[in-house]
C-alpha cells in the first residue's frame, strides 16, 4: 500500500516528529518505506528518517507491505496529518 503526504507541521520531520513516527512504525510487523525526493529509507530507522531532511512543505511517500499494512498506514498517516501534535 502506498500513500502520499505533505509535511504540514512547522518544524518538519525533526527529531521529535521522527521519533514519534519511528516508535509508531516499530509497532507493526509490516515493512515500511518512506520516500522524499529521490531518497527512500526504512521507516523504522530514526537515522533514516532524519536523513530525509524533510522540512515543512516536503512531499513524502509511504509504502507499507505486510500483514498489518492497513493499520500501519492509517496510524502513520494520522500522525503526519495531525502535525505530530504540534500546535
Amino acid at each position: 500500500m502506498t500513500s502520499q503526504y505533505t509535511i504540514a507541521n512547522r518544524l518538519g520531520l525533526h527529531a521529535r516528529a521522527a521519533a514519534q513516527m519511528v516508535k509508531a512504525a516499530n509497532r507493526f510487523t509490516s515493512e515500511i518505506r518512506v520516500k522524499s525526493g529521490d531518497r527512500e529509507v526504512n521507516g523504522k530507522s530514526i537515522m533514516g528518517i532524519l536523513t530525509l531532511a524533510a522540512v515543512q512543505g516536503s512531499l513524502i511517500v509511504l509504502t507499507v507491505e505486510g500483514p498489518d499494512e492497513k493499520e500501519a498506514l492509517n496510524l502513520l498517516g494520522n500522525l503526519i496529518m495531525g502535525k505530530f501534535g504540534e500546535e
Binding site: R10, H14, A15, L50, T51, A53
Partner: protein, 623 residues
C-alpha cells in the same frame, strides 16, 4: 583547591554571555573527547561472543539514557526529553545494529565495526543541505560515544558527578549533559562552542545559571580544580583570578544577587531622568519565548519584533494564518502596551530555494527588505494581512525596513491599503488605522528625514546598519572593520538630524541598534534628542538605572559639545571623562551590578506616585 594560591597564570577570555549572572569557583572539566577504541580482528568462532558483548553494552547504554530521561520529567524540559528519546532510538536503530553485526561477522571487533557504521551514517548527515538536519550528526555522535564507552567499560562522566558548587567547563555539552543540569549543583558553564540559541544557553537561562559560550579553546586551558570567575552578561571569563579579581567578582556577585531580588520592584520604576524627562524603554525580540523577559525586565512594550525567524528553515512560505497566530501572541502578551512588528528584513539570497532567484554578489546592498517585499507583493501581502488581523487589539504598529526614500513608503502604503480593502471584502476583523513607521538606516533616509517624517507615523534608527552604510564598511572585510565607530561625528550628526526632523513633524523617534542597550551611550542619545530606546530586554534595567542618574539638560549640553569635536576617538575619550566625572563608579558594562538599588527603590516609591503625570503608567501585573 579554591583557597590555595595557584601558580598558573591569570588568563582573561571574552566569550558570548548567554545567561546573566556571576560565578566564582572551581572548575569541573567535563572531558568529552573521543575515547580511543582499539581496532582488532576477531576469529569467526569469536563472533558470537563479540556480538553478545556488543548487545550487553547496548542494553546498558539504553538503560542509562532512559534513566536520565526519567529524572527530567518536568514540563520545562520536554524538548530535552524528546532529544534523549531520539538518542535511545538511535541506539535501537536497525541501521546501526545491523551494520555493526555485519562488521563483527566479517571479523572486526565490536568497537571497530561500530565506528565504521557511525562514520558511514555521519557522512550521509554531513551532505544534507538543511542546517538543522545536518546537525543531527552530533546526536549520532553522542549516542555512539556513550555506547563505545560502555563497550570499553569506561564510565561516562556526567554532570551529576560534580560535587559541591563548581563551574562546568567543556568543549560542548550534549543534550543529555544539559538535561542533568536540572539536578546538579553546577553554578556556571563555560564552553568552547555554542551560541545564544544552543541548548546549553536556553537551559542555563531557564535555570538562572550564568553561562558563557563560544570561548574557542577554554576546555584546553583549564583543568579540574582551577578557579575561574565568569560574568554571564558581559561574557568575561578569568581563569586563575588573582586576589583583586576575586574580590571584584565576589562584589559583582553580591550586587547581582541583590539586583535579582530587587528586579521585580525595580521594573515598576519609571524611566525618567533626574530632572523629570520620561524615556520610553522597549524590547527588541525575535522569538516568542522572549516575551516573558519583556515583562520580567520591565520593558514598556516591544520596539522591534524581527519576523525573519518565521521564514527560516523551511521550503514553503508561512501562511497568513501562521503570521496572524504569531503576531497575535505578541500583541496579547504586551497588551495594552505597543509592539512594533518589522516586516521581512531578509534578502532574496535567503529565498533561493523557494523562488529560484539568482545569488547576489553583495546581498547587503541587494534585493532585500522593503525592496524584496515590493518586488514580491504576494509574500508582502500575506505578512501584512497577518499583522493587520493581529492588530485588531489596537496595539500593533508596522515598521518598514531599509527605506531609502519616500517612494518606497508610498508604494508600501498603497499595498497596505489594497490589503485592507481585501480584508474588508472578506469581512475579516483587522486594525484599520494601524501606525506605519520606518527604520532609518540608509544615509539617504537620514538626508531626507524631513520629507519622510511627513509620510510616516514614527522613525526607528537602526544604528548598526546606518553606521555600516554611511561609513561605507563592508562587513565581510576585516581590513576596514576599524572604521565601525558609533561615535563618529558623522553618525552623531545623523542621529541629531533625524531626531530633529521627527520632532518638527511631531512623530516619535526611537533607536533600536546596539547603541541603545549600552549605558555608555545613554547620555549622548538622550542629549541628541531621543526619547525612545529599544534594546535586548536584559539590558533594560541597567539603561533605566543610567537614565535615572542622568540630567537631561546636562546631557543636552554634552551632546552639543560632542557635536563640535572633529574625530570619533576624541569624542570617545571626552565622553569617557565626562561619564567618570558624573558617575564615579562608572564602568560601561558593569555599572548595574555594582550599584545597590536600595536608595533608588526608596526614592522610587515617590516617583511611582508621579507616574500618571509623566504619562507612564505603573506596572501592576507582574509576570
Amino acid at each position: 583547591m579554591a583557597g590555595e594560591e595557584t601558580k598558573t597564570p591569570l588568563v582573561q577570555l571574552k566569550g558570548m554571555g548567554v545567561s546573566e549572572g556571576v560565578a566564582l569557583g572551581p572548575i569541573y572539566l567535563l572531558e568529552r573527547e573521543r575515547v580511543a577504541a582499539p581496532h582488532s580482528r576477531i576469529l569467526p568462532e569469536e563472533a558470537e561472543a563479540e556480538l553478545a558483548r556488543f548487545k550487553k553494552a547496548l542494553t546498558a547504554t539504553q538503560r542509562q539514557l532512559e534513566l536520565i530521561k526519567k529524572r527530567i520529567q518536568t514540563e520545562e524540559s520536554r524538548d530535552l526529553q524528546y532529544i534523549i528519546d531520539a538518542q535511545v532510538l538511535i541506539l535501537k536503530d536497525v541501521l546501526l545494529l545491523q551494520g555493526t553485526e555485519d562488521g563483527i561477522r566479517q571479523g572486526l571487533n565490536a568497537e571497530w565495526a561500530l565506528e565504521l557504521v557511525r562514520d558511514r551514517i555521519k557522512t550521509v548527515f554531513e551532505h544534507l543541505g538543511d542546517e538543522y538536519f545536518r546537525e543531527r550528526r552530533s546526536d549520532v555522535d553522542y549516542a555512539v560515544e556513550r555506547l563505545l564507552r560502555s563497550l570499553l567499560k569506561r564510565r561516562v562522566e556526567s554532570i551529576e558527578d560534580v560535587k559541591g558548587n563548581m563551574i562546568v567547563a567543556a568543549r560542548d555539552l550534549s543534550p543529555a549533559d544539559t538535561a542533568q543540569m536540572v539536578h546538579s549543583r553546577v553554578i556556571g558553564f563555560i564552553t568552547d562552542m555554542g551560541s545564544k540559541s544552543s541548548h546549553t544557553a536556553i537551559m542555563a537561562r531557564s535555570l538562572e545559571i550564568p553561562a558563557v559560550v563560544g570561548l574557542k579553546n577554554v576546555s584546553q586551558l583549564v583543568k579540574t580544580g582551577d578557579v575561574v570567575a565568569i560574568d554571564g552578561f558581559t561574557g568575561e571569563v578569568v581563569i586563575n583570578p588573582d586576589a583583586a579579581t576575586r574580590q571584584r567578582f565576589a562584589e559583582l556577585k553580591k550586587s547581582f544577587r541583590s539586583y535579582q531580588t530587587q528586579l521585580p520592584r525595580y521594573r515598576r520604576l519609571p524611566a525618567v531622568t533626574r530632572d523629570g524627562s520620561p524615556v520610553r524603554l522597549l524590547a527588541n525580540i525575535e522569538l516568542l519565548e522572549e516575551l516573558g523577559a519583556v515583562k520580567r525586565y520591565g520593558a514598556e512594550g516591544v520596539g522591534l519584533y524581527r519576523t525573519e525567524f518565521l521564514f527560516m528553515n523551511r521550503k514553503d512560505l508561512p501562511t497568513e494564518e501562521e503570521h496572524y497566530q504569531n503576531y497575535r501572541k505578541v500583541a496579547e502578551a504586551v497588551f495594552p502596551r505597543p509592539a512594533v512588528i518589522r516586516t521581512l528584513d531578509i534578502g532574496g539570497d535567503k529565498f533561493v530555494s523557494q523562488l529560484e532567484l539568482a545569488p547576489e554578489l553583495n546581498p547587503a546592498m541587494g534585493l532585500r527588505a522593503i525592496r524584496f517585499c515590493l518586488k514580491e507583493p504576494k509574500i508582502f501581502k500575506t505578512q501584512l494581512k497577518g499583522i493587520l488581523r493581529a492588530g485588531e487589539l489596537g496595539n500593533l504598529k508596522i515598521m518598514l525596513p531599509m527605506i531609502s526614500g519616500v517612494e518606497e513608503v508610498r508604494a508600501a502604503r498603497e499595498i497596505i491599503e489594497e490589503v485592507q480593502a481585501e480584508l474588508k471584502k472578506d469581512r475579516a476583523r483587522f486594525a484599520s488605522g494601524i501606525p506605519i513607521g520606518i527604520m532609518v538606516e540608509t544615509p539617504s533616509a537620514v538626508a531626507a528625514a524631513d520629507l519622510l517624517a511627513r509620510e510616516v507615523d514614527f522613525f526607528s534608527i537602526g544604528t548598526n546598519d546606518l553606521i555600516q552604510y554611511s561609513l561605507a564598511i563592508d562587513r565581510a572585510n576585516a581590513a576596514v572593520s576599524y572604521l565601525y565607530e558609533p561615535l563618529h561625528p558623522g553618525v552623531l550628526r545623523m542621529i541629531r538630524s533625524v531626531a530633529d526632523a521627527g520632532r518638527a513633524q511631531q512623530i516619535r523617534v526611537a533607536i533600536c541598534g546596539e547603541m541603545a542597550g549600552d549605558p555608555f551611550y545613554t547620555a549622548v542619545l538622550l542629549g541628541l534628542g531621543l526619547e525612545e530606546l529599544s534594546m535586548s530586554p536584559y539590558s533594560i534595567p541597567r539603561i533605566k538605572r543610567m537614565i535615572r542618574m542622568i540630567d537631561q539638560v546636562e546631557a543636552r549640553n554634552l551632546a552639543d559639545r560632542l557635536l563640535g569635536v572633529p574625530t570619533g576617538s576624541e569624542i570617545a575619550s571626552l565622553l569617557t571623562k565626562k561619564m567618570e566625572e558624573w558617575f564615579p563608579d562608572f564602568r560601561s558594562d558593569q555599572v548595574f551590578y555594582k550599584t545597590s538599588l536600595d536608595d533608588e527603590l526608596t526614592k522610587g516609591v515617590k516617583d511611582a506616585e508621579h507616574d500618571t503625570h509623566l504619562g507612564i503608567s505603573s506596572r501592576r501585573t507582574s509576570g
